[in-house]
Assembly symmetry: C2
Homo-oligomer: 250 residues x 2
DNA sequence: CGACTAATTGAGTCGCTTCAATAAGCGTGG
DNA sequence: CCACGCTTATTGAAGCGACTCAATTAGTCG
């Protein structure tokens, strides 16, 4: 498959002839951490990474194992999750295209990473990535910003987990979904009112710290009151966003 | 914008008498983010900061206000907290000496910062700190590591909030406290078995997503079963750490 | 020592979970 | 294309853990 010549940026870096990398056409090159890199440096990092597809349900990293990999999400949605020894699970993060996965400069992975829908990631061996990051402060800066954003998001979620009722949790979740899917879904400028949930009911329950039955009941109640419609198992239609926001309660 | 000299030349200038900064004797200089800096650069950063005492209960930063400050904790313990509009509070973080406070490169503060006990912090205007960090990759690297550690900690706490029972929550909390206080309390090499809780019962409840009564009942039950002793209002004595760890359930 | 605040304890209620049964999607093969 | 079977979701009924409200006790500080 031959991509036609494009980006002006190629001319100089191709002082080394034939060195165009997949990065030049990467759909997340302007939003992932790579966006901080000059084309030359980006190319260099690109040589360390490889594209990998991850099918729905497939686990990329297991909780507790050595953290040998980091990655950029190119396409899809993945969950980060941890469990108690007796099997209770909590989803501690959901990542979308342009998000970063993994723990650079760290020994162990503290959570599993599993695809919620068929996904594609750009995978790096952690050691090589660490080395590269160490030599490229602009990359570390971007990494820092992403980490700080994730930290804020995690802390807002702690308020939800610790202090919100089941109905507030479900309302908050639907709103967050609609916002984040819109951010990813390109040219749209507002949150989406109609979308496919990348999570099934059990996974929603695992995000919210509830049971599957409670999630189902809350969704049914939202439908009954005309706030949302549920045209299919994973389909969601927000009919009254204002009411949904009022129900989210923060 | 004219910067006086580059870092290397500062080494020399600090050899000049009278340029010693408070940083040279700072008790957290080897563990805070400053530990990444050469003495010269550290001195330069030190000039931007000032030591501030924060009394128990005093709030350094308010949720939602402009993020004008960042800081290193020198002494004491502080909480990070958020609230719902109707006043339910969740503590989303507890910071100790050598921890970093604030959101560099960010506009708004997403949580309040309040001293749990009389504390001292090294305060920087965010704008000046951002500028300095931008010019000192080794500082950003350290910042990144701290942020990633905090992120892991926050995510482990999400498992607790979403999936653990009241008794597991309290047991986990006591263990975490004993570990973190020991890390701070210098030469000790293991977790502390006897310490003062920097939080009152309401604040423990706000960390765990429980009510004050439930926390009290769980503590009483732990005392009744001989796992801990409660010699005073804020005093805690761990009598059977193994049993406590079993009760923490992860 | 006495007054005030913080913590404990008790009784009753409520919200979420648990267990169980039914219904709806959805992919497959006839 | 529809019927079938499997998976996933919904709904119901009962139980229980944590919350609420209220009263009592214990620390702590002047």
């Amino acid at each position: 498959m031959h991509q036609p010549e494009s980006d002006r940026t190629i001319d100089r870096s191709s002082a080394m002839a034939g060195t165009r990398s997949h990065c030049d056409a990467c759909v997340v090159r302007n939003r992932s951490i790579c966006s901080a890199l000059e084309p030359g440096a980006r190319h260099l990092l690109g040589r360390e990474g490889r594209i990998q597809t991850v099918k729905r349900g497939q686990t990329l990293v297991w909780e507790g194992e050595d953290a040998l990999l980091v990655a950029n999400v190119i396409e899809g949605v993945l969950k980060l999750s941890t469990s108690t020894s007796d099997g209770r699970e909590q989803i501690v993060g959901v990542v979308y295209p342009s998000d970063f996965i993994g723990r650079p400069f760290g020994e162990r992975s503290h959570h599993s990473v599993t695809a919620l829908v068929d996904s594609r990631v750009c995978l790096f061996p952690r050691a090589a990535f660490d080395r590269f990051a160490h030599d490229h402060p602009e990359l570390e800066h971007q990494l820092l910003n992403k980490a700080l954003d994730e930290l804020d998001r995690a802390r807002r979620w702690m308020l939800l987990l610790g202090r919100k009722s089941a109905s507030e949790k479900v309302a908050s979740f639907l709103l967050e979904m609609s916002v984040r899917l819109a951010e990813v879904g390109c040219e749209e400028n507002g949150p989406l009112d109609e979308f496919e949930l990348p999570l099934d009911r059990q996974q929603i329950a695992d995000v919210l710290g509830l049971t599957i039955e409670t999630v189902s009941r809350q969704l049914s109640s939202l439908r009954a009151s005309g706030v949302v419609d549920l045209p299919g198992r994973r389909a969601l239609h927000i009919l009254d966003r204002n009411r949904l926001m009022a129900l989210a309660g923060d």
